[in-house]
């Protein structure tokens, strides 16, 4: 089935139905001193029609988690435990040929750097047509027509003429639009965007965020947007997961997260963003220290060594991600935050 026009004109309904469900996923890297844990039993999920933001600093495992689901991890990095279910099927147990149908078909990807993700010696049109021919069994002519439509969809001026261009002939913003078009080529149910705007200028960044927002509403897909920039996704996502050292430390609807950040790490992250109202030379609040390196994870809560509120228990046991509000939509993995709630 091929559709030239947006499938669903109305914004997607949030059904509460799980599209992606990751449970207890553990990723290890082989080092000279034996295996070291990078992602530690992570749980996360995305509902149908939902947009999830995954926020964390470099090395927190946000990209690896997404890559591991598609079994795209580099050598020496392996999933050792856990499952990742997509539309009810475990991606970790799928055969390679089954998985190939999911990659680029039901799940679309946009990576950070379009210069390294696009093939430099292949014309844009061919790169767009490839997934259509492979996943949708289109003929070359059909695929080329659809490729032109996709370029128009992502707002590339003179779309049909650009099909024969090579990546180096396009600007950074245009290349990222091509990446988005490829990610969307097969009408995916889930679009995973891994820092898609980090390399781009602020005005282009705003264009790309608005574009994805617009396309999501038109096409009714779920989106996972991975970023280190909380402000950037504030107006885009429904829910945010904050990652620290390979675990989800806070999971909350976007408004709740900004209004009532409950994990000390989330609070620190939000406080370290300069505000409009700040006087010049007011000190920014910062989080002292640096995240733990893989292989040197602390015994208890991974954030405890940097945490201003850490208590004895935090250094000894790992807190579970538990519900804060009624219905458990806002969850936090912090002994101190959980106890505060019980006391209230």
């Amino acid at each position: 089935m091929m559709m030239a026009k947006p499938i669903r004109p109305e914004p997607p309904a949030k059904t509460g139905e799980r599209l992606l469900d990751v449970k207890g996923l553990t990723i290890e890297i082989e080092t000279r001193n034996g295996p070291a844990t990078i992602v530690d039993g992570i749980d996360l999920h995305v509902d149908k029609g939902e947009t999830l933001g995954i926020v964390g600093e470099s090395g927190c495992g946000k990209s690896l988690t997404m890559l591991s689901m598609m079994r795209l991890l580099p050598n020496k990095i392996k999933v050792t435990k856990g499952e990742a279910n997509f539309a009810g099927r475990d991606l970790q147990k799928m055969s390679n040929s089954e998985l190939r149908k999911v990659r680029g078909g039901e799940v679309g990807f946009i990576f950070q750097d379009p210069m390294t993700s696009l093939n430099p010696v292949m014309r844009i049109g061919q790169q767009l047509a490839e997934p259509l021919i492979y996943h949708r069994g289109m003929s070359k002519a059909e695929a080329r027509k659809r490729a032109g439509e996709l370029l128009r969809l992502v707002g590339i001026p003179g779309a049909e003429d650009r099909l024969d261009a090579y990546p180096h002939e396009l600007s950074g913003g245009m290349r990222q639009r091509v990446m988005i078009a490829i990610g969307l080529a097969c009408n995916p149910q889930l679009l995973i965007a891994d820092e898609p705007t980090t390399a781009l200028d602020v005005t282009i960044q705003a264009q790309i965020v608005d574009l994805v927002k617009d396309l999501r509403d038109k096409l009714g897909m779920s989106v996972v947007w991975i970023t280190h920039d909380l402000a950037l996704i504030a107006g885009l996502v429904d829910r945010i997961n904050v990652l620290y050292a390979g675990t989800v430390v806070e999971d909350a609807p976007v408004d709740a997260l900004f209004a009532n950040p409950s994990h000390p790490y989330t609070q620190g992250l939000l406080a370290s963003i300069p505000k409009l109202s700040d006087e010049r030379s007011t000190r920014l609040s910062s989080i002292g220290g640096t995240p733990p390196e893989p292989g040197r994870r602390p015994k208890g809560c991974p954030f405890a060594p940097r945490c201003p509120l850490a208590e004895t228990i935090c250094h000894e046991r790992v807190p579970a991600l538990e519900g804060l509000s009624h219905g458990g939509a806002h969850r936090v993995a912090c002994f101190v935050a959980q106890r505060k709630l019980e006391a209230a």
Partner: protein
């Protein structure tokens, strides 16, 4: 802020000559900087913002004479430093320092931190060998690193720690002026805040003047006294931080500010962004007249023909825009 500028930049031009085509058969000129004018006052933080390729880093490099200026003057202590040769430049080098974006590639991986920080001290003969160790320890303490770091190598340090070392190395020469070229852009948010605080502390302690080159407007708004906005090799607007963020005059500044995300979901969902159409034109053949006219929402006929004059629209608020000039009385 003293009335006498520490540095005066007059009609600064930097063109790069490049060869294009598979065999370099076509000569071309990159108009990286064209007729840039501004003053830097002692003790202030002046930021330059703009998108990649706008010439903000080239400005930093050219005014330190790291790139040879094509035309124009940079007056520092009564001397036009951009016409000095390397030897005549040396006494000024000590006073004018730079911190780069990537602390991974600017530190020599085979030199210990102590050696890296000590090198400029010995080069400029600012301390004897006997005093050196103490001096290095003081500098490391200034940037918040314990003295034992002196014997470590760059690969043993985190990105934030390396940037602290790069700052210590710049401070080693007891400079007056530091160009921070995207000095915090590669760092994570929480670490970025640490380095911003450090830069502000050091400025107070040593009376430093900063030229801060960055693309993150939230950070720029936080640390600057004055902000200059660049577009395609020219300054579009320059004003105090309050003036620029509260009353931007140039249409490019307005578009740039409207693209900055705020950490407020309700505000972000409802805000109407002024999205610029198209891409930045190539600096190989910049548009005639106002360089922004090809993307400007309020461009007039004159904008494509005449370069707008760099003039004071309000006290201390410089702008180059025909539409703004027309709206002014007189």
């Amino acid at each position: 802020m003293a009335a006498q500028p520490l540095m005066r930049i007059e009609h600064l031009v930097k063109h790069f000559h490049v060869r294009l085509g598979a065999f370099g058969e076509r000569a071309a000129t990159v108009h990286a900087l064209d007729d840039v004018n501004f003053d830097i006052f002692e003790g202030e933080t002046l930021s330059l913002v703009g998108e990649s390729g706008c010439g903000k880093s080239t400005t930093g490099f050219t005014l330190l004479n790291l790139h040879r200026a094509t035309e124009g003057k940079v007056i520092y202590q009564g001397k036009n430093i951009v016409e000095l040769d390397e030897k005549a430049m040396r006494p000024y080098r000590r006073q004018l320092q730079i911190v780069f974006q990537d602390p991974y590639s600017t530190l020599n991986p085979r030199m210990t931190i102590g050696e890296a920080v000590g090198e400029p001290i010995l080069f400029h003969k600012l301390a004897t060998k006997a005093e050196l160790k103490d001096r290095i320890a003081t500098l490391l303490a200034d940037v918040g690193l314990p003295p034992r770091f002196a014997s470590r190598y760059p690969h043993e340090l985190s990105g934030g720690q390396r940037q602290r070392v790069a700052i210590a190395r710049a401070l080693a020469c007891q400079p007056k002026f530091i160009v921070c070229d995207e000095a915090i852009s590669a760092l994570d948010v929480s670490v970025q805040a640490q380095i911003i605080n450090l830069l502000l502390d050091l400025q107070q302690k040593y009376g430093l003047t900063y030229l801060f080159i960055a693309h993150d407007l939230a950070v720029v708004r936080h640390i600057s006294d004055r902000v200059g906005v660049m577009y395609l090799g020219r300054l579009a607007e320059l004003a105090t931080r309050e003036e620029l963020f509260e009353h931007p005059l140039h249409p490019y500044t307005k578009a740039l500010l409207s693209a900055v995300p705020e950490a407020d979901p309700a505000h972000e969902r409802s805000r109407k962004r002024q999205i610029l159409q198209g891409d930045v034109p190539s600096p190989l053949s910049p548009p005639a007249g106002c360089r922004f006219h090809t993307r400007c929402p309020i461009a007039m006929k004159v904008c494509g023909k005449v370069v707008p004059e760099w003039r004071e629209a309000r006290p201390g608020h410089m702008v180059a825009c025909h539409a703004v000039t027309e709206g002014l009385p007189g």
